[in-house]
Symmetry: C2
Amino acid sequence: MRGLPTDLPDNASFSHKMSREDTMSVILRRERGDLLHRQLFLALREQIRRGAYREGDPIPTEDQLCQSFGVSRITVRRAVADLVEEGWLEKRLGRGTFVKQTAAKPQNRTGSTFTESLAKRSKQTKVTVLEVSKCSPPPSVAAAMGLADDAQVMYASRLRSISGVPLLFIDSWVMPEYAGTIKNDTLEKRSITEMLLSQGVRFRYVTEEISAVAAEPHVAASLHVEVGSPLLCVARLVSKDVGKTVMYLMAYMTSERSRVVFSHEEQDLDRMYEAKLIHDIDAYDADQ
Amino acid sequence: MRGLPTDLPDNASFSHKMSREDTMSVILRRERGDLLHRQLFLALREQIRRGAYREGDPIPTEDQLCQSFGVSRITVRRAVADLVEEGWLEKRLGRGTFVKQTAAKPQNRTGSTFTESLAKRSKQTKVTVLEVSKCSPPPSVAAAMGLADDAQVMYASRLRSISGVPLLFIDSWVMPEYAGTIKNDTLEKRSITEMLLSQGVRFRYVTEEISAVAAEPHVAASLHVEVGSPLLCVARLVSKDVGKTVMYLMAYMTSERSRVVFSHEEQDLDRMYEAKLIHDIDAYDADQ
């Protein structure tokens, strides 16, 4: 996948871990072996791509995978679950885990397309529109967008959740010429990025910045964290061309629930990273 | 560039902004137009690559660039400064800015190699070795490395600074079989990654995770921030192969001084991002 999935997702899988028994409840489990299971995921995916296991064939059992890779059962389970989620493997009840028939098809090899994953992400999270208004952005945002301080833009504030667990608090500022469709009711159905892309707006440059900030009261309240607790903040500037800003977005998330993960395969250290955002809703107590 | 430059830098430029007049002092200036200047950087670099300006030719003046891209002078200056730093442009005193003679050479097109940039990074930052010891890692680290809780590894704690400004607090845990050269005096000269690579250790999988954490007292003291203030934490797991961990690293930095930036060129949203870490030592008061 590419880049950081917030409102403008990428083609990475959205790794929220739901209970298998009850997909509406939240597993209260959090582990620190995330990077290890990610590496096993990469290794197994590479084996499937290379054809080490053929379509429709079973993969080794959990025990065999634990032994051959020298990792724990929990690591194996999480890597396999991610491969199932990304469509490489499929579980057959009582029979084991198999390489999916379509897994080797080229169009599946690099995951789903950007637009597909965007639609998937929108469906996976429930969006609550907190505010939509025309306003002058804060000076820091105006500077980031290359605007005068008194320029008017469309502002939208949204919260994305899964199963009632708030994951992303998103502030967006959209240039007026692209903001025609941005309203309370349309935002509940589609992301801003989806709307812009469907209008044919070009995304020539997308730059992002990750920082850590202390939670302000209104963000803290929405994300159900204490005021002042550390939040990851992903800022994204989308431009049609240099100096032609389309939108600016700031997404806040708590590390208790969301992290950004990069994977780097192969020895070649000059290759680019894959980036992934993992939401750990497991760690969150829904009754909070 | 690729991945997050901490102890294991990439081939991105290390954008610390030193005063031109006195490279030992720190500019107390911080702006929010970072993403905008980054996009201009990408656009100009693309023009140089495509040969829009020939080697040795002058590029347009600041005024012309401001006008043609519709951006501010400060944005132009920062983009040009970064292109100079990365070796695409050169300033000639009193004459202007020119495309460097070597800029069009293929080996320069994608920036310096990983190993080159690694050496450069090591030189640019001053490392203070805080601790080197054999120990059992904390349970969370042991889990991340796939080790039993009582496993012994080599632990090193370091602080990387520029001009007395602390930027990165780095905890590292290295598997004993690779830790032979890791000592107080060797760590002052080379990064752990440089040492491992020169020993021929393969880095088959490198995975990273970014989170936001509250500064613990000893980290806060080293980074000169308040206890509990939000820090970016980059955790990195380096493996020879799946289940064969080489090292685990956690780098802490304050967003006041360091951020992680990703750039995405072109309309193709399925392409990978470039990632960049920018240290804003400008914002830091050295007398603190």
